[in-house]
């Protein structure tokens, strides 16, 4: 079976500063990954790691500086809008900014149906929309004629997911879909993702900084740091036994809801983030507890150990 999405050596550079002092920030640095049909693939990392930029590139909202993307085997082109927006849809972080506050929420649904000619009459359109709403636990009567501010955050996020499902996409890009929803309500939305994968065969590119939900819902995961993928593999392997020092730091820093499992050690935080972007060699060398001399000058390569890709000099030795 072909990969739904394949990204190879994707790079995106931004120029910052003014005419006199320009620096180039590489937000996405030589990133490669793939997403299979009916799987949930997570891009995880803290803010500034490049995951949101990668999402924008995949959705075609920005142009890559270098690299290729393939969708279902076709080289992507922004001009081919139909397959792009029908087959690939997105869910954003803040449900309240996803919708125009001055428009009713159902108008977006009807507009999608009309633009993609998904129904032949108003009645068919309503039936189609109602079916998608039921997938997320709502009905058409509940939501017809209402404005975004009449719903709670959790409800609106579900509606946003339903909107993404209207065109029967095969790939959903979910950019931090639960970070603005209360912690106690997150599970219901994340369970919904699982159902979409199992019952409809939809794949989800799940972008998050919350490793707890990532562990719970994903099949495979890639950890990103300052534009690079530093570790990638199945979620069991990567999160239960992280190899890259940054992955280890990330996992250890998740606050456990158990007072017996408080943090034992202290953490040092990065000083000014821009410096890390511009490092020669491994970008994590400034904070890495296992840093070696080679890390400060040579960029590590991707090493495959136990079916997991790790971008770290520590493992170059092991392979030999």
């Amino acid at each position: 079976m072909e990969n739904l999405l394949e990204v190879n050596n994707l790079t995106k550079r931004y120029a910052q500063g003014n005419v006199l002092a320009r620096i180039s920030i590489t937000a996405v640095d030589n990133v490669s990954f793939y997403v299979k049909p009916a799987e949930i693939f997570t891009l995880a990392g803290e803010s500034g790691c490049g995951k949101t930029t990668t999402a924008k590139l995949v959705l075609g909202f920005e142009e890559a500086t270098a690299g290729t993307m393939l969708h279902n085997g076709d080289t992507r082109s922004r001009r081919e809008k139909t397959w792009l927006t029908k087959g690939v849809q997105a869910i954003f972080q803040d449900p309240f900014s996803t919708f125009n506050p001055l428009r009713t929420v159902d108008s977006y649904f009807h507009e999608t149906v009309r633009n993609f000619r998904l129904a032949r009459s108003k009645k068919d359109a309503i039936a189609h929309i109602d079916q998608k709403l039921r997938l997320v636990g709502l009905t058409y009567e509940d939501f017809a004629g209402k404005y975004p501010n009449e719903f709670s955050g959790g409800q609106l996020q579900r509606i946003s997911i339903a909107r993404a499902l209207v065109t029967d996409p095969k790939l959903l890009i979910a950019d931090e879909p639960v970070s603005m929803v209360d912690a106690s309500l997150r599970m219901s939305i994340v369970n919904l993702f699982k159902r979409l994968r199992d019952e409809l065969g939809v794949s989800i590119l799940y972008i998050t900084h919350d490793l707890a939900t990532a562990y719970y819902v994903s099949d495979r995961i890639a950890i990103m740091f300052r534009g690079n993928i530093v570790e990638m593999g199945t979620v069991e392997r990567v999160l239960m036994n992280p190899r890259h020092p940054y992955s280890q730091l990330l996992r250890d820093s998740i606050p456990q809801a158990d007072p017996k499992k408080r943090w034992a050690t202290k953490v040092t935080l990065a000083e000014l983030e821009q410096e890390e972007y511009l490092r020669q060699g491994c970008k994590f060398a400034g904070r890495c507890p296992d840093v070696m001399d080679v890390c400060k000058s040579v960029v590590p390569t991707d090493i495959l150990i136990d079916d997991v890709f790790v971008k770290c000099h520590l493992y170059a030795e092991e392979k030999k």
Binding site: T98, N100, L102, E150
Partner: protein, 283 residues
């Protein structure tokens, strides 16, 4: 209907509405004027207000009241043409520049900024002198509109620029909406208050500018407008000769118009402002 009722709760809107209604009635009355406004000496000159002539007569032999109805009508026509045409240009330029960005944006803003820095008054005087023979209401209106769009185009552009980055733009794109429809449908509720208030402001501005040009004698003085009435009154030394009824008529009429237009613009744009609209929307 509900909108109007809500608007009337604002005293500014109510007063403005009243005043402008009266002015509109005056303008419509002009069609039933017993006198031809462009002809002189149809009535005895320089008579004080009386039963026959409510506002008296002027030195040209015209009934001031009926003159005023024509003046109001013509001033309104000029200002409406100016305001409407310049809105269209401002909206087109602002939206295209804001959404497209890049070179198109820079070129359009360059043109717009150039128009802003040109000393308006000198150019207007120069153009008015050149076009004098063909000067009529429509020409004057168009002339004014050429200079009335630059500032507002930039305002609209900045609104569009900020809206373009919002998530709901992306949602509309993902719903398959084309660019033109997106800009018109999604952004118009946000640019509406701006367009409305600048329209009314532009009307005020146009009337004021017309009056200035008229006092300088650069328009067709035979066609009565608020400006020309003022011009004639000054030329015939109405203040010196204490013919208050003549000079005060255009002054007070235009004063009322300016205040009414301002209040109308402020109350409507406050009502249409997305920030207050969002509070009202959705029960």
């Amino acid at each position: 209907m509900r909108t109007l009722i809500d608007l009337f709760k604002d005293y500014r809107f109510s007063v403005a509405f009243l005043v402008l209604s009266v002015i509109l009635i005056l303008a419509i009355l002009s069609f039933s004027s017993p006198y031809d406004p462009t002809v002189w000496y149809v009535v005895p000159r320089d008579m004080k207000p009386s039963a026959d002539h409510i506002l008296g007569t002027d030195s040209n032999g015209q009934d001031i009241f009926w003159q005023a109805t024509f003046a109001v009508r013509n001033s309104l026509i000029i200002s409406l043409i100016s305001a409407l045409v310049s809105r269209v240009i401002a909206i087109l330029v602002g939206m295209i520049a804001g959404y497209t960005g890049g070179l198109v944006d820079r070129v359009l803003m360059f043109i717009s900024d150039s128009l802003l820095v040109i000393p308006l008054f000198l150019i207007m005087v120069m153009l008015a002198m050149m076009v004098r023979e063909h000067m009529n209401l429509v020409v004057l209106g168009l002339l004014l509109s050429v200079f009335g769009w630059a500032w507002d185009a930039r305002l609209i552009r900045s609104v569009v620029l900020s809206l373009r980055e919002r998530d709901f733009t992306k949602t509309a794109m993902l719903s398959g909406t084309g660019t033109v429809k997106l800009v018109l449908k999604e952004y118009t509720p946000f640019t509406m208050p701006l367009i409305f208030s600048t329209l009314i402001n532009n009307m005020s501005w146009a009337i004021g500018l017309e009056m200035t040009l008229a006092i300088l004698g650069l328009v067709d003085l035979n066609n009565p407008t608020l400006g020309t009435m003022l011009n004639w009154a000054i030329v015939y030394h109405a203040i010196l000769l204490e013919r208050w009824w003549w000079i005060l008529t255009p002054v007070i009429l235009s004063l009322f118009m300016f205040i009414a237009l301002y209040w109308l613009s402020v109350s409507i744009s406050e009502y249409l402002d997305p920030r207050t609209r969002i509070q009202r929307v959705g029960g």
